[in-house]
Symmetry: C2
Subunit: 434 residues, 2 copies
């Protein structure tokens, strides 16, 4: 649209054309105000009924809320206006009239439940505090990519249609692929490992993953955004260093570039990037800490996985982002390497926000024989994964990496109650549309 | 790996540990050279047999090509070495021994067919000229995102599992989604349109799209990377301006940041970013130009789509990136808006490289009644798309946008013969693994 001025750029003394949505109309009798909203903010349009053309007044004041209009007029200072300026209209053009009945109130005066919001995301994202989440999400992705660049990573894109899943046939969505059985990929794990054995050495990918898990919780999605990292010649401690850097960069990017959005969310005071290194607790230390609180019905013993409750107890104790390292090998995936001096203990690690797990990673098994053995112990046919395992015969370096749940990062960063709030169009067991 | 020095950073006078792959061993009798390769380049390791420990010499010279090793030793200047320096080893550690039989020769001395290369991408990407393609691909994505940022776009991620396709049921891969019928999305078209009606106004997405087309050509993929743009209050000419900016930025990013990669591909001299505005031909002008060459068996008439042959003829005539505008409405998708003063003519446009179409876009139909009519004329049930159409009743601004084929951009930029060369693990009718 030619000559459009954003409401935020309307300067007293200029004659401008602003365009956007009718946020509100307040008719005070002889004078009325229309609040026009665009992506940069809002501006007041003043109608002085006795001094203006009747048609103009009628057009401006009879338009339905949330209609799209453009207004041309002079901008003047007006201290009583919400943004300190107002427009006196010369013309009003109704571009796209809205129905009087809206399924959701973008002014936020009437609350809406999450399902209604998700069914009407277009309207929902007209609210500053919802729009802010997705502007922050975009900044998180940008900062994360910059952080990977600082780590000399090459961005890769791996296929989402695959013949076999990372960890076998469970939790995969089946596809019909030209008459063949195929699946939507649950993780780029195998592909990113193939790439560290190539000349790229260190890679990252940000992309969708698909998990047919029947969970129905506020922190699980069936389609999610995975932030994946993998590096040749890294061990698990170096992978953890990279993880710290990436997560801190995400927070720093938001702190630097999203002050308005944090304000819209009421987080401008409490938001802080995590400082310094994240504490690294061994699994054993974690168990001790949890058991010492006495908050679980039964104390945890070596080999137990951490329940959601245990994670919460531990998160409260630690009170910041932290790693759990040195897990029992038996509860970590088979492609994670065990410690050389103790094969009962895995190099796998998790990175935790006090409220939930964000990252899972570790050094990988790069020795062909051990890897094939791992497939067999898992009850998987190594033949089905030959495209992957055979590359371990041709010079596969030691390597380590991790996967970070993109939506969980945003959810914990902003204190969202439901992970679906961090996704434009979430997918869960019940929700396939829009 | 602690204390690892990249081969490119090995400085004469230092004692370093370098790690990577055995690229080549040249045994000249009393002296032998091992060329070690890592992601930054190559370095020569010198073995003087009479002056060195026998075990060290044996380890260094009997290791299989493409094995992963580390070498610790003093770096010295050596003008006859490929990079001007060499390492005299104090120790050699074989980290991951390679099979003597390789399915593909990473030194490039033996050519491999594309299917063999794709089956063995890990080895294939040890070649400089293959690695270069994917480093350039990463830079293209980075530059494109920066360009979108300059255009004040918000990055979005839309779902890849959907209940309905953009243009109906053909060419969609069906999924079983918790017992429901679903599909892999063929385009973010409908979702990005929903977002321009939100407070975000201007958005982009780079993500996978899935098309069950039975094409089997050097320029079609069944899973591809789509670069999508959409903006409220834009018409088709403004969308074309944005398209020019993004494509030029991709070229400029590569020119600035990928000189080594262009050299590896032998493109350092001929590579040039397109300059100035891309010519904008109307469909009618395009037809005239093509017909004037007399190269087609039958002249094209109004309403004909452009065949691959016609595109080639026209591309040769124009000789640079160009737009084709003002297409007959009947051969453009129903969600593209017709010109207000002539509904036989669409605002749809294509952006072409001389060798093929890269972009398809246009101003969209934002009027609810016209849109629903379009669905019906297409033989689609508007009810099935209600999640999308209903948002057009609540203040949908005029908007325009486009989709750019990521792999086609890279393919044409680098003059690749087959689009599969621009994808790590391409998917086509025959290829589902790796």
């Amino acid at each position: 649209m030619e000559n459009r001025t954003y409401t935020a750029d309307a300067t007293p003394g200029d004659t401008v054309t602003v365009a956007g949505w009718v946020h509100e109309i307040r008719d005070l009798g002889g004078i009325a105000f229309l609040i026009l909203r665009d992506t940069t903010g809002k501006i007041q349009v003043k109608f002085e009924k006795d001094e203006m053309d009747d048609d103009l007044v009628e057009t401006g004041l009879n338009v339905q809320r949330e209609s799209v209009i453009s207004v041309t007029g002079a901008v003047e200072e007006e201290p009583r206006a919400p943004t300190g300026v107002e427009v006196t209209p010369e013309s009003v053009d109704v571009i796209s009239e809205a129905d009087p009945e809206l399924p959701l109130d973008p002014s936020g005066k009437v609350d809406a439940e999450l399902p209604t919001r998700l069914d009407n995301r277009t309207l929902d994202l007209r609210k500053d505090e919802v729009k802010a989440i997705f502007e922050i999400r975009a900044e998180v992705l940008r900062s994360v990519r910059e952080a990977f660049r600082e780590l000399n990573c090459t961005e890769i894109n791996t296929p989402k249609i695959v013949a076999t899943g990372t960890e076998g046939g469970t939790e995969l969505f089946p596809i019909t692929y030209f008459g063949q059985e195929a699946f939507m990929n649950q993780s780029p794990q195998l592909f990113k490992q193939l790439m560290v054995g190539s000349g790229l050495e260190r890679v990252f990918e940000i992309g969708p993953i698909f998990r047919a898990e029947e969970h129905n919780t506020p922190r699980h999605l069936n389609e999610a955004t995975s932030i994946d990292f993998e590096s040749a010649f890294y061990d698990h401690t170096e992978a953890m260093d990279a993880c710290e850097h990436v997560v801190q960069s995400a927070y720093e990017g938001v702190a630097e570039n999203c002050q308005d959005q944090l304000e819209a969310l009421g987080l401008e005071d409490e938001f802080a990037a995590p400082e310094g290194d994240f504490p690294r607790l061994t699994y054993e230390e974690a168990l001790d800490k949890i058991n010492a609180t006495g908050e679980l019905d039964e104390p945890l013993v070596w080999g137990d996985d951490l329940s959601t409750e245990a994670e919460h107890v531990l998160g409260q104790e630690v009170g910041e982002h932290y790693f759990i390292t040195d897990w029992p090998s038996e509860i970590k995936p088979f492609y994670i390497k065990d410690h050389d001096d103790d094969e009962e203990v895995s190099t796998g690690f998790d990175m935790m926000h006090p409220s939930m797990e964000l990252v899972s990673g570790g050094q990988r098994e790069h020795r062909f024989d051990h890897l094939v053995e791992g497939f067999e112990q898992q009850g998987l046919d190594p033949e089905a994964f030959e495209y992957y395992t055979k590359m371990f015969k041709y010079g596969m370096p030691p390597h380590a990496g991790w996967g970070l749940g993109g939506e969980r990062l945003i959810m914990t960063m902003l204190g969202l109650e439901n992970i679906r709030e961090a996704v434009l169009f979430p997918r869960d067991r019940q929700r396939l549309s829009p």
